[in-house]
């Protein structure tokens, strides 16, 4: 028997989660994209809980409510380092899906092709989870177990996604390769965040690749190699087979594993060029 509950307050929601086995419903674009929404579990609709909405920016962090829709994110005025997330927001399904689908739902559903995750990993996202027992913080990378389900206890609710604002100049980019122009599940996708040093070289880079492993992964080797690279005076960075060693792509109907490796190599080149092209004006002119 399907049941549906839309708690009016956070306390009610947490109380319900503490007592029962619920399928948490946010935008519904994953929960309803199957034959039986919730696979028979009762639905706890948190999509309109005020505590889970809103985008708050302070000096150090951007806090995004878990049920913020992709459209809201796409249209919001955000600092330049958030560009990758805003790019993602415009590429998930059609507008009729972006208007409903939420950033928190994308994380908790954690499909291997979840578009939001590579960008959020690159941006160093942290998560705030709350239960009636209290609140805990966890970084996105450890929330996403390499195999198996995400690290959300059934009594917990994902409250918000917290992104540290880079101290210095920075830029980010997202690249997705699908088989058609729109409505496409990624063959491979990736995101980068670069924090630039004052001399225009790469101070710190974070790059993650999705749809080429069970979960999106960071390319620490490439990140290290990029550190100190100064686009204005040194030649372009060649992507090497070692750079993509952390990937473990599979063959499926969308592409072969080999193709994914080959495409990842090419797209990483594009990604680095794109994130460089979008660095702050002052740095671009040395």
């Amino acid at each position: 028997m399907n049941t549906y509950c839309r708690p009016a307050t956070l306390d009610q929601a947490l109380g319900a989660l503490a007592e029962g086995d619920w399928c948490v419903l946010a935008g519904g674009t994953d929960v309803y994209a199957c034959e039986v929404p919730g696979n028979g579990k009762p639905l706890l609709d948190v999509s309109r809980l005020p505590d889970l909405t809103g985008i708050d920016i302070d000096h150090e962090t951007i806090r995004i409510g878990a049920v913020t829709s992709w459209s809201t994110l796409r249209k919001a005025t955000l600092p330049p380092f958030m560009r990758a997330v805003q790019q993602v927001a415009g590429l998930i399904g059609g507008r009729q899906v972006q208007n409903k689908g939420t950033i928190g739902g994308n994380i908790c559903n954690a499909s291997s092709a979840a578009d939001g995750i590579p960008a959020l990993l690159a941006l160093g996202a942290g998560l705030e989870l709350q239960s009636s027992a209290g609140r805990r913080h966890v970084d996105l990378a450890s929330f996403l177990a390499p195999d198996g389900p995400v690290q959300r206890r059934s009594d917990e609710l994902l409250m918000s996604i917290v992104l540290p604002i880079p101290a210095g100049p920075s830029s980010s980019a997202f690249v997705k390769l699908g088989r058609r122009s729109d409505l496409t599940i990624a063959v491979v996708m990736m995101a980068a965040l670069v924090e630039w040093a004052a001399d225009g070289s790469v101070g710190r880079a974070a790059i993650s690749v999705g749809a080429a492993s069970r979960r999106a992964v960071r390319l620490h080797g490439l990140e290290d190699r990029l550190r100190g690279w100064r686009p204005i005076s040194t030649p372009a960075v060649e992507i090497t087979p070692e750079d993509i060693e952390p990937l473990s792509p599979i063959d499926d109907s969308r592409a072969s594993a080999n193709y994914r490796r080959c495409a990842a190599t090419i797209l990483l080149g594009q990604l680095v060029r794109d994130v460089t092209r979008h660095r702050p004006e002052a740095l671009a002119h040395g």
């Binding site: 674009t29 929404p37 059609g94 507008r95 088989r179 122009s181 109907s253």
Partner: protein, 920 residues
Amino acid sequence: MADFLRLNGCEVALPSNGTMRLSSFLRDELALTGTKIGCERGDCGSCTIIVDGQAVASCLQSVGGVAGCSVVTIEGLATCTVAGKSLQDAFLRHQAVQCGFCIPGFLMTSAAFLESGRDGEVFEPRRDLAGILCRCTGYQKILSAVLEVASGVAPRAPAPLPSVGNAVGADITRLDGREKVDGSQHFGADGIPRAALRAIAVRSPFHRAQFRLGDLEAFKADHPGIEAILTAGDVPGRNLHGVAAPFADQPVFAEEEVRFVGEAIALIVGEARSVQSLNLEDFPVSWTPLEPYLSMLASTADGQDLIHETRPGNILIRGHVERGDVEDAFHAADHIVSGTFSTQFVEHAYLEPEAGWAERNGDTISIYSCSQAPHAHRSDLALILDLPPEAVRVVPTAVGGGFGGKLDLTVQPFIAIAAWRLNKPVGMVFSREESIAASTKRHPAHMKSRMCATNDGILTGVDFEGDFDTGAYASWGTAVANRVPVHASGPYSVANYRARTRAIHTHVTPSGAFRGFGVPQTCFAQEQLIDELADNLGMDPLEFRLRNALRVDQPIATGQILPDSVGMEACLEALRPRWNQARREAASTNGENFNLRRGVGLAAMIYGCGNTASANPSTIRIGVRPDGSVVLHQGAVDVGQGSNTVIPQIAADAIGIAVHDLRIVGAATHLTPDCGRTSASRQTFVTGRAAEFAGKALRRRILSLSNAGPDAVLSFGKGRVAVADQGEVRRIELECMEPDEFGYVLRAEETFDPPSTPLDAMGRGSPYALYTFGAQLAEVEVDCALGMVRVTRVTAAYDVGKVVNPSLLEGQIEGAVAQGIGMALTERFIAGSTRNFQDYLMPTLRDVPPVDCIFIEAEAGLGPYGAKGIGEPALVPTAAAIANAIRSAIGCCIETLPATPDVILAALAQNNLDFSRNTL
């Protein structure tokens, strides 16, 4: 918490079950069926509505989640949104609507964007509508309609209503358009009575398996609400159907063994909610999986089991056409090219899943469904029900796209048997997954071909062998095997010719009719070899085609000589300016960027309109009622292509009446005479010709009753026909005449069966009465690093004999080009693994480029006012032209479709081509 929502301006109480999909609530509880369900996974956008000003996929929306919200559906579009009415009018004026099933999604999304504007975001239709799928139109006319409203420019003036005698050739807005933009038109699922029982099929999860049913009575007893479980034993008549009667082999319910994933073994009928919530994993059946043959190679290997006992080697049928001496030609030739090509299963992917309902009335039964073939369905259903055909009424609902996929029986036998057995109305709606699993597909082809020419550029020999995977049952395998050998010559004069085909069974969903019956696959192979031959000769591919193009006095492959309407040369000449220009542009940019290469490709085609070498008559009835109204019985099912408009245009001119003054009775087996199937590009030609004959017969009758000359002007109404001739007006008083059995005082009924002859053992004869000619020019960009191909422009030139309705004709070509792009680049059905529109990648709005259409009118003496068919010709050359464009970009043939990135990169590697050293 509010228990209401504001729906189209009125408060509506929400149901207690908040988990229900909003789309189901709107349709099933509130009977607002204008919101269409195409996939129930958020992949297609057809069900889009407006919630608090935002476009939302209603299939992904819980009803609980819209409590207190304001919701607008297509039913409220005109009154509850600022731009709704303008959008509806623009869609009609721009002929943006074909089948209409996806249209509510486009209208609602556009209206939401035009409504809001409040968040400062500018509406960019090309970007903001890109998440909605359309399978008919190719998106171009939808885009132009929305752009007009969004930009606020003065709306395009509606085409003036044509005067009497000038309907043919006039750009008339489709006559059934209004109900397609306001949500009131009923498709297969929309008219199911609320009280009807619902049926769901139990289907095989295996490609091939023996099965044994368990205790069905116990299952029924355990599940309250089930009224019956029907299996093979419950079929009143013959548990078989098939479009080619002598080959009928497909059971309604499999008996003992299933032959494809998705084959039905039983039907559960009961109260809607109980049936829809059943968990079929508990259904009592035990399976013994057997080794399936999933390819033609596997099923034709030595010693394999027979999929059908009467078909040795698992071969359904062979086709053969031969003339001249092929071996001699190849010995004598200066240039020989050859190749091996293959294509995959392609899904029709009409946005409307199969649906309908049936109702028994005593000794008769009525079956309402989205059918492309009402009379043919009646014949098969009568055999299945063991009833005389007169006792079976087949009434097509509006059809949300067909493309050949709704010619075979789908829901019809299930609902008919259930309604007959239970004596209650029974409805059934396929899920998208079910539709993809169980409906027919385009035949995969494996083709070996060679061609030869002499140094003077004459194509002297063609030798083609093609195997076509017809899947588990015959369906249209016979039609493919017979049609392809007539068409493998292409639109060329070839003295020495041999084409042999086989339709082969495998354990896959049956392949059926899909826009072109194997000819698009054949064209893909043959036209690449034509290009290669031109290259070897050092000739421009367009000039080589022109030199060999069929002309009026030359025989086609079967020896048939066409007396008129061979416009191939004119089509190629019409493409020449763009061909030269595009090739110059490509050559200039290819020098600069090695990685992103542009290519230009051409493909030409011939296509026989109507069934191959067999009768396919259409009959049209026109009657005048005592009140003077003129009624056209138009039995050609409109699946979006426009026969509801084109046939009246022809009939009106034949009678001498304004087309908008005709009353139209739509297809139904008890109301309209048989107009045959909507297939084989035959309706404009065959039914159109019958309409011309019937219209003229009615006119002759009126003229003779009034002793008037041929140029007399008729006016109908007020109980009379007034006949004005040479300044004198005579009146036929209708009210004093005796009405006939149909209630008409004047009536004409005419049949047209296009003249054709059977083919002899060597394939000689006149298999079709007339042929459409055409060619397409595709321009592409190939990313040689990623193997991605983008089609940037298509130019199409067609000899259609006579343009009956220009914008409907363009729409056929624009939509076909979109389907051709899918077939060429992204679409592939894999049995057992392709389940829905997430897995099956048809082109989206931004995958389809602008299409320029050029029409040649080489009038056909046999066609109505000279007209020929376009439905399939529009698609036939697209994939071939794209393949040739890729070939010109990267320098090697494309041997398999779809040309996925893996295929492109493999082709580059195989030919040691590397354009990627110069990185982006």
